[in-house]
């Protein structure tokens, strides 16, 4: 029983991480129709920032806002050049651009942070384990579950419940019409990309305590985030939440039950799911973001 609970919590913490990462990818894809394969680079940069921040002795919790701001800044610069010029181009061009950039960033990070696996020295309050029915479970993962779902909730409120979110949703529906209301939609879209980059960075900072940081992690995370977005269905917030849970549980439990074939089992299950529901778990409805 304790073992089952621990596995469920493991899956939940993985899902929380997938959710945050995938949301960053999904907002630019569904709101701006822009495929950003460099999203994994934002994630890995955030992870490295957390590793070095935790080691620096500064207040540990600042690692997360700092990772958010640093990657948001990187996003803002990339948005000015070259992303902005590619919003209206085909997906293939966007893929070529952002994949190329992600390769460059991977090299830059390997050069800057080295090729070894860096595991962060976790801050005092997040170290250690709690016992659930005599089974140990890392405190850090509980923290990850709480913060991950909390941040996803904030994002939902921002996009679904605020006027700024309404501007974003309206820009998706009819950009020209939003412009006739005196709103500069280019600035709105820039802000969405910056927000997405920041989300990538904060996911990485949170994930570092679970997945560590190493060259190649950017791509692993990117693929999982893409799978999550596609399984969930484009443009649906609920879909992404549901799909982060599905992917997180599928990967975690296939590792438990079929350790040798974990990825084969998990990805086959998702492929079947997509064959059954090509538009994703939750087909986009009007309201959803």
């Amino acid at each position: 029983m304790g073992y089952a609970i621990v596995q469920v919590l493991n899956a939940l913490s993985f899902s929380a991480l997938l959710l945050l990462t995938a949301l960053g990818l999904s907002v630019v894809l569904s709101l701006m129709n822009f495929i950003n394969l460099a999203h994994g680079s934002f994630y890995l940069l955030g992870s490295y920032i957390a590793v070095f921040w935790f080691a620096s002795g500064a207040p540990w919790w600042l690692a997360f806002p700092v990772a958010f701001l640093a990657t948001a800044l990187a996003g803002a610069l990339l948005e000015r050049f070259p992303f902005r010029g590619f919003y209206a181009r085909t997906h293939l061009m966007q893929v070529l651009l952002t994949y190329g950039l992600s390769v460059v960033f991977a090299d830059l990070m390997r050069w800057g942070f080295g090729a070894q696996i860096l595991s962060p020295e976790l801050p005092e309050p997040l170290q250690g384990v709690v016992f659930l029915l005599d089974m140990p479970f890392p405190v850090y993962r509980l923290f990850l579950i709480g913060v991950g779902f909390f941040l996803a909730g904030i994002l939902w409120v921002l996009l679904d419940r605020t006027l700024w979110g309404a501007v974003v949703r309206a820009s998706v529906a009819d950009r020209g019409m939003v412009e006739t209301l005196g709103i500069d939609t280019r600035r709105v879209l820039s802000a969405v990309l910056v927000l997405s980059a920041g989300l990538g960075g904060v996911s990485g900072a949170l994930g570092a305590g679970m997945l560590a940081a190493y060259p190649g992690l950017d791509e692993e995370v990117l693929i999982l985030a893409l799978v999550t977005v596609v399984v969930g269905g484009l443009g649906t917030f609920r879909g992404t939440v549901l799909s982060a849970l599905v992917v997180g549980f599928a990967l975690t439990f296939s590792k438990v039950w079929f350790p040798e074939f974990a990825n084969v089992v998990a990805f086959s299950a998702m492929a079947v799911l997509l064959l059954l529901r090509p538009a994703g778990l939750v087909a986009p409805r009007l309201r959803q973001v």
Binding site: L163, R169, L181
Partner: protein, 243 residues
């Protein structure tokens, strides 16, 4: 607020030598037009003659434009749409352009997102169109055609515009509803001093509201004058309006 048009004043809108094309397809050629403050002008013409292109050229929403467009005394040719709008022009586009994935209230609030507060407030719009107040929390995709039209007009008002451009507002509405919205509601706005540019296929309706009419022929303006003169000109009616 004086409601009489002011032909001697600086025009709210003036086009001189405006041509508009989509790629190699020329739709409008050398159009010149002046609209004085508080005037209500109808733009008529057959299907596909270029009425919407004229509107889109004014707001820089697609067609390539040459010539000079002046709005509120400023040359705006080539400006981004949001800057043109901020000078005081609002659009009720063909098909109404309400945001289906937003609630009625959100649709309206969007218009005051960037514009300074002015005469029109959310409550004013709800007082003017009580039907919308009841639906304020509904998604605008659930509204009837008439309600959507009122929503699009209310949204345009909340930008505090002085020039209201409506593109075929009667399209898809039952005759009584079109009558009520265009003649009553838009007529009242015009009387209160709004400058109105009304694009219409429904000639009698447009002529009842607007004392002046412009008829677009192939590429060019075929007639510009008092509305009464159009009805007295059967050749023009047949040739360009198909009536």
């Amino acid at each position: 607020m004086s409601a009489a048009p002011d032909p001697a004043g600086e025009p709210h809108l003036s086009l001189s030598g405006v041509s508009a094309h989509y790629g190699a397809v020329e739709v409008l050629r050398d159009i010149s037009l002046r609209i004085a403050p508080r005037e209500a002008v109808a733009v008529l013409g057959r299907n596909g003659v270029g009425k919407t292109t004229l509107v889109n050229a004014l707001f820089n929403l697609g067609p390539q434009v040459s010539g000079a467009i002046r709005l509120m005394g400023q040359e705006v040719t080539g400006w981004p749409t949001h800057r043109i709008a901020r000078l005081g022009a609002a659009l009720v586009p063909q098909g109404r352009g309400v945001f289906p994935n937003l609630t009625v209230a959100e649709n309206l609030q969007l218009a005051s997102f960037r514009n300074r507060p002015g005469t029109w407030t959310l409550e004013c719009v709800f007082d003017t169109f009580p039907g919308l107040a009841e639906r304020r929390a509904s998604f605008s995709s659930s509204l009837s055609g008439g309600e959507r039209q009122l929503l699009a007009i209310g949204r345009a008002l909340l930008t505090q515009a002085r020039l209201l451009v409506l593109d075929e507002p009667s399209e898809g509405l039952a005759p009584l509803m079109a009558e009520e919205i265009i003649v009553e509601q838009v007529g009242r706005l015009a009387k209160e001093g709004m400058t109105v540019l009304l694009v219409e296929q429904n000639v009698p309706l447009a002529l009842r509201l607007c004392p002046r009419a412009v008829v677009l022929g192939a590429h060019e303006i075929a007639f510009d004058g008092p509305s009464g003169d159009i009805l007295a000109n059967p050749a023009l009616l047949r040739r360009h309006l198909g009536v």
